[in-house]
């Protein structure tokens, strides 16, 4: 889905709120949430792709105004409700107030049936795919051409894995793009490396 989470290359933002050696956690509940997320993952109620998609499915207004760790809690709670571990009413009763959850999921998809293997140095094009469900493709490379640098480890196909569909493992390719190809006339010169799932790529004719 073309959601608010897909931030690469969006314009209009101010300076990064950077401080050297900044703490990862702004409050003790954030640190606890970080641990809870790991522990909840180990319970096996949901997988990492379902988790990422639950973050992406937050209402856009909620998503951009929430802190990172509010997004974490919202995603975990959404999945616990969707998986039948609890209900929104129970969460709200315990929390003593509202508990906004993410929107329901749209359809996922399985691995591309015609996916191909690529060699180091090969030019590839990112398929012009638009999907309503989970995808680990940043919008800024869609339809763009780059060069395969490495073949990465086999990983379950996220577009299926986030939706309870059969997800075959497939390689992710490290693909190198030039910023001037991604944003012609609209970016500073740089080389951009993106890890791209095999199903997202096609050979350049």
């Amino acid at each position: 889905m073309d959601g608010m989470h897909d931030l690469g290359g969006r314009q209009g933002f101010g300076k990064v709120g950077f401080a050297p050696k900044a703490s990862p956690f702004q409050a003790s509940w954030e640190k606890r949430t970080y641990a809870l997320r790991t522990m909840a993952g180990q319970l096996g109620v949901y997988n990492i792709d379902e988790y990422r998609h639950a973050v992406e499915r937050m209402d856009p207004r909620h998503s951009v105004s929430a802190s990172y760790y509010e997004r974490v809690i919202t995603a975990i709670a959404t999945l616990l409700v969707e998986k039948g571990v609890t209900t929104k009413a129970e969460l709200e009763a315990i929390a003593g107030g509202g508990f906004a959850l993410s929107h329901p999921s749209a359809a996922g998809r399985t691995n591309a049936p015609d996916r191909k293997s690529f060699q180091r140095g090969e030019r590839v094009r990112v398929r012009n795919d638009f999907v309503p469900g989970h995808i680990r493709l940043p919008g800024y490379i869609r339809g763009k051409t780059g060069i395969v640098m490495y073949e990465g480890p086999l990983t379950p196909f996220p577009d299926a894995h986030a939706h309870g569909l059969e997800a075959a493992d497939e390689p992710t390719y490290d693909v190198q793009f030039r910023s001037e190809d991604l944003w012609p006339g609209g970016a500073e010169a740089a080389v951009i490396h993106v890890a791209v799932f095999q199903s997202y790529l096609e050979a350049v004719a």
């Binding site: 931030l7 990862p24 107030g97 508990f99 010169a189």
Partner: protein, 200 residues
């Protein structure tokens, strides 16, 4: 939608509610948030990445192994990767190339080498801007890159992780490993800072 929703409970209470509904399942599996926090405090440390960098600076054979297969090389230090993190690429900075890491889609990080990501790494500005205007962003963050140096931005969109191998300050050549490790900051492992020699 927000319009039909009671105002959200404070974050601490929403966290407590999620913890409560997972309590029995966690107990049955011998898991707890406290134990997980302790494990994270001891294992998710930028000091791990710093140790690896110090060794790479002083041991050319290790540096070669590290650049060829990051996961195998960090295992020599007893450092692992969480199950979903399948490989780690170590990105070598040189006078010609400066590497910097981001996750534009969420906040993926090589946590056992870099630690939990800092707040700014998870925030909208860094994720939106660094892929498109890296030189300006790095300048703003106090890490200017020479005009003749190519910037490579690595977007963590799959379950391969990245760590930058910063350049060793020449005045530190010959230092012992622990002293070398002490100058390697977390920010330099992300590529938004440089090793800080005392007195800088």
């Amino acid at each position: 939608m927000a319009s039909q929703q009671a105002p959200n409970a404070p974050m601490e209470q929403r966290l407590a509610a999620v913890e409560r509904v997972l309590e029995v399942r966690a107990h049955d599996k011998g898991l707890s948030v406290e134990h997980t926090m302790e494990w994270q405090e001891e294992n998710l440390l930028a000091e791990n990445g710093a140790k690896v960098v110090a060794r790479a600076w002083s041991d050319p054979a290790f540096r070669e192994r590290l650049l060829a297969d990051g996961k195998a090389a960090i295992a020599e230090f007893g450092i692992g990767l969480p199950a979903i993190q399948r490989q780690v690429y170590v990105l070598e900075n040189t006078p010609a190339v400066h590497n910097v890491i981001v996750c534009t889609l969420c906040s993926c990080t090589a946590t056992t080498l870099i630690g939990p990501p800092p707040n700014w790494y998870e925030d909208l500005e860094y994720r939106a801007r660094v892929v498109r205007e890296a030189r300006t962003v790095l300048q703003e963050m106090g890490c200017p890159v020479a005009p003749e140096t190519e910037i490579r931005v690595w977007d963590t969109t799959a379950d391969t992780r990245f760590m930058v191998l910063p350049m060793q300050p020449p005045e530190t050549i010959g230092w012992p490993a622990d002293k070398l490790a002490s100058i390697v900051t977390r920010d330099s492992l992300i590529g938004v800072g440089r090793p800080s020699v005392a007195g800088d």
